[in-house]
Subunit: 365 residues, 4 copies
């Protein structure tokens, strides 16, 4: 395989920028990608932090104005890892400059904005870092559902609980400012749960929602929950909160189908619980599959059965699939359109919470 | 302690009647009750089943007409273990005859009916078999909350999942007839979850609900879910279903408070998970308390630490506390008034599901 | 079924006597036994304790001299629940008086004594309360093994860990006196593990052992461990200790066979873990069977699937099977001969620990 | 920090060579090391495999004769990832050439050989890849023990179970040849358990062992187990097997001390169970610590609390600590001397298994 050079520009210097930087370094070792990735330039407004990031993560150059980066001829791909409100201008400018665009989730701070972004990237390769689709256990859940192993789905149940909101000191970060973040738990956490649900169980048609802020003075929601009806006839409950005291990073789902049950929790991400109701009645029980192979998603990419992977590998696998897809022509998901579908649900959630009514989701013809 | 004789009449011959019969036999061995309980008469319409029950569980006499039983001078207490729609006439008649009344849950098939029952029993000792309050782990959760160990409550999360509905053969039983049962998962399962929530977290003030029937032709709901706001400022999600494929009897709750988290699952009923956030940050984690003593509810009644109890002991403890309360004068809960509070929530759930609106709960002045 | 009266005499007033008393009351409700059991007389040396026990558990009469009880014409069965060293004289006297004999474990304080007891009871119905064979999950493990579901057994691994020894206050009880108890963790805890192993995996042929006392001055072992070779070619490790700090009552075993794995822990006694290696490689995992039915041992005796039983039901099931066996002629195990087999292993353990050599177990021709 | 160049030569092209290669690439991103690591040359006998490895993992050059590599002036460090029997000649030659030596475990195929290796490397930086010491949960266990949180240790219990041996197809690999591997489960798996035990609980003084081969014709042991006495007065059981059917990679230990319990399982490597017996009796239970920070080992190196790491990070942390130690002068463990201590135990295990006697471990004065 001859490999082309792929010059990457990173916009952002925070925690997620590290996870992305790591993926740019690592993906080539685990996936057969058609590129030699170069970490060309990293862009941030805080010079000290920018230099530290560049030094630690091996970015060749630094820049403080993202507009200059996006316009550079030598840049092939722009990766966006900044506060939500900046996603749209950067993504649109990058797409207009013909760059491949990779964007952190949630895609945007509003449905309208998301739609304009999706329109802008139509002619360039694009993806959104809903990385949890690439947890092997989540991808395996998808496979089992598609194989019909849990039959007709009746119930979908999603939780995303962390305890980040219970620290008053954190309230000053961008994630707590409406102007920067757009929303609180809704965009930050629920967006993941919704993406997973759409991926695994298809479109949501109706929902009724509640959002809540526990600490007076906060501009964004601390918690969000909704009841949903899916297009496939199943019903669901969703809850995301920054006040899930006692939970570190519980991004979980459970699915009950006519033939079985699946459940997953990101805190134990190398496992998937599966209860196969086609077994003899006295042998039916939830089994905790260790999803490290064999014959399971990404088993051939990473180590060997019984040897777990971690948080960072979900980014590596996302990037790996995206770049392999560019070579093979296999469409990659989630792209910007998929992220618009998530945004459409979040938009309905916010409208329902504001009006205290059920909201029917409308889809473009 | 001199013990009086307590002549009991049981109305009902089904599964729950067995659980109650067992409790009448056993309670004296584990609780200091002021009565010698006599299983005087059992009443049912199916003669074969009635005789079998009487023989297996040691009831002295049998009767096929509950009205005759309720009027007997020698009966002190009437225990009601029949389909829901019959609770009201029997309870009211028994109360009017001056009997002590024990009634299986849910109390009634409507709020109005429940209120009339509560009024009728005002002058006789009365209780409702919401037995799961007496799971030692649930009672211990209550104690920890009252001790302030989880601080201000932010989230309450309840599930009651079983898979009974996924068997078409079962659709013919009384639990699937609106006339007999009043509702499906709502009265059967959700009533337990609501009683536990009111017990642990106080009144619910607002809710929005969804009920659903998966199998066409069923008269009652297979599943019910709602979002709730509590009087104490916390918010909650509730779900009960007979299509929780893969779950045997998952009556569970989780509570996040400012100082910690509690979680419980009836399938593992001798345990309570507790995450104490007042521990040093590096030692914070969910601990799985085995609630078999020492210094925990009912530890002195049953066996010794490390020796678990089962489903039946929740009935024994309920009856034990009720009868001890009669001697000591300590008020017993849940009584009929507590069950009315549950019914008020179920009524709001049904109204919300029908109207697809949020419903505010109104309480009598 | 016409039922005969069975007059029972209980020798002993401690914790185990309560568990047995409960079983005598309860078994008739859950098993089809050919007897009306009468709790005729209870015998103990401490008058206060004796009266309290008789009153709480409904024994008709009391007696302080076991010899008088054993000789009574109206007694049909003698149940022995006293310190180990008294098992032999009582059992032998009861057998000589023609009584049915039920004896708490361990059978005796020495192999020789156990053999003489087994000889004495040859002509009377007899059983030993190794109650954990009747945990439904343990009986189900036996069934799965006999069905060949785990194939050829390679490894057997047993632990019995509690923390009773770490309390200096307890050192004064009879369980810490060699004269009364014979041994410490060996007879008290390891006897259960050995009985389970012989039941599930057959005879042990060779072993090397270590016993240890952590607190100076104690007469008996606090901990015992051994390596074993079984007659079926498998190998095993055994450990029992009163210094298993952090464990309440962890009587557990794990078995690896060519086709699968089983594991059990008494603290979670309604469950059995089973890993079926005949499943497709990507679906192999340990499943946690809830052994409350259907189609599992004792599912028809107690409640219904999803409704757990507790510690006491292991005694009820033991007594139920024993008494049903008397009517049906189906031999009951474990009887005194089975308990001698356990004692033979414990004897080898003690000889090996003393000599620090491997010991080969010899069986009578 | 000015960084020197560190030219590394890798001897080996198998699975472990990949894990090491990954660590050489990654360590600089997560640890503050004083080197720019260059993956200079990789050495293997199979040309096809060698080229594939070099290409996938970015080694600059290839070589088929390790002797040529070891002698190269431009090489600073030699990393040994070949079958066990080759460790000694390569390590000794590398040390004699003045190279830094990194060696995969077990260090050698005999105690004598291990001692000669330790002697050879005395004047060069050296380390052995007992990577599981650097699982954050294992390092945290060490910290808790040193802080006295579990008090005086009574019991140590180690298992290393996988199922690799139950596949006859595997019997032909070098791990099943005595000449290449030295031993089977003993060197492959038990060496890890012994290293962890010596690290956490100190020297073993006496042991009695059993080794076993289930499949006739195999040259090496499939399983090994032993009972141990430690210098600190505690006692232990150890078992390692390739016939732990149902277990993927269960490298686990449990420790009971006077104040608490610790347990760990590599399959769930981001967790450590801790039961703190200094809590109030009704709040004592095992808590499952998620060891991803804060204030836990390696929390500042990798992601953030609630975001797990995987198998590969144990190698990254091992290399990171080793290289940071070279800069800071802080001695690194495990070095070759530590690995000799492991080998001394394995040697005693083999002697005990052969003689069927207890063996007392002798230490050099």
């Amino acid at each position: 395989m001859t490999r082309k050079i792929l010059n990457v520009a990173m916009i952002g210097t925070g925690f997620i920028a590290k996870a992305h930087s790591n993926a740019f370094h690592q993906t080539g070792y685990f996936f057969k990608i058609p590129y030699d990735i170069r970490l060309k330039v990293i862009c941030g407004r805080d010079r000290t932090r920018l230099d530290a990031m560049a030094s630690q993560w091996g970015w060749e150059e630094t820049e403080t104005d993202w507009r200059k980066v996006v316009g550079r001829k030598d840049i092939d791909a722009v990766d966006i890892a900044v506060p939500n409100a900046l996603h749209a201008p950067i993504a649109i400018a990058a797409a207009e400059a013909g760059k491949m665009v990779l964007c952190e989730k949630p895609l945007a701070v509003s449905l309208k904005e998301a739609e304009s972004m999706a329109k802008a990237v139509r002619n360039v390769p694009n993806m959104v870092w809903f990385n949890y689709r690439r947890v092997p256990a989540v991808a395996f859940a998808k496979q089992l559902i598609e194989e019909g192993r849990i039959g007709q789905i009746f119930h979908y149940r999603a939780l995303y609980l962390n305890q980040s909101g219970n620290d008053p000191a954190k309230a000053s970060g961008w994630r707590y400012q409406r102007g920067d973040a757009g929303s609180g738990a809704t965009g930050d956490l629920m967006s993941h749960s919704v993406d997973e649900a759409l991926y695994l169980n298809g479109p949501i048609t109706d929902l009724t929602a509640l959002t809540h802020t526990f600490f007076p003075g906060r501009e964004v929601d601390d918690a969000v929950m909704f009841l949903a009806q899916f297009g496939n006839g199943s019903i669901g409950t969703f809850e995301a909160t920054r006040f899930g005291i006692g939970c570190r990073n519980r991004n979980s789902f459970e699915i009950n189908g006519s033939k079985g049950m699946l459940s997953f929790n990101l805190e134990d991400m190398n496992s998937l619980e599966f209860n196969d109701m086609t077994e003899a009645p006295n042998l039916r029980a939830s089994r905790k599959l260790m999803v490290t192979g064999p014959n399971q998603p990404y088993a051939d990419n990473f180590w060997k059965p019984g040897h777990i992977i971690g948080y960072e590998h979900t980014f590596i696998a996302t990037l790996g699939d995206f770049l392999e897809g560019l070579a093979s022509g296999k469409p990659f998901h989630p792209d910007f359109e998929d992220a618009v579908a998530v945004q459409r649900v979040l938009d309905a959630v916010e409208r329902s919470a504001a009006s205290r009514n059920w909201v029917k989701l409308s889809y473009p013809a």
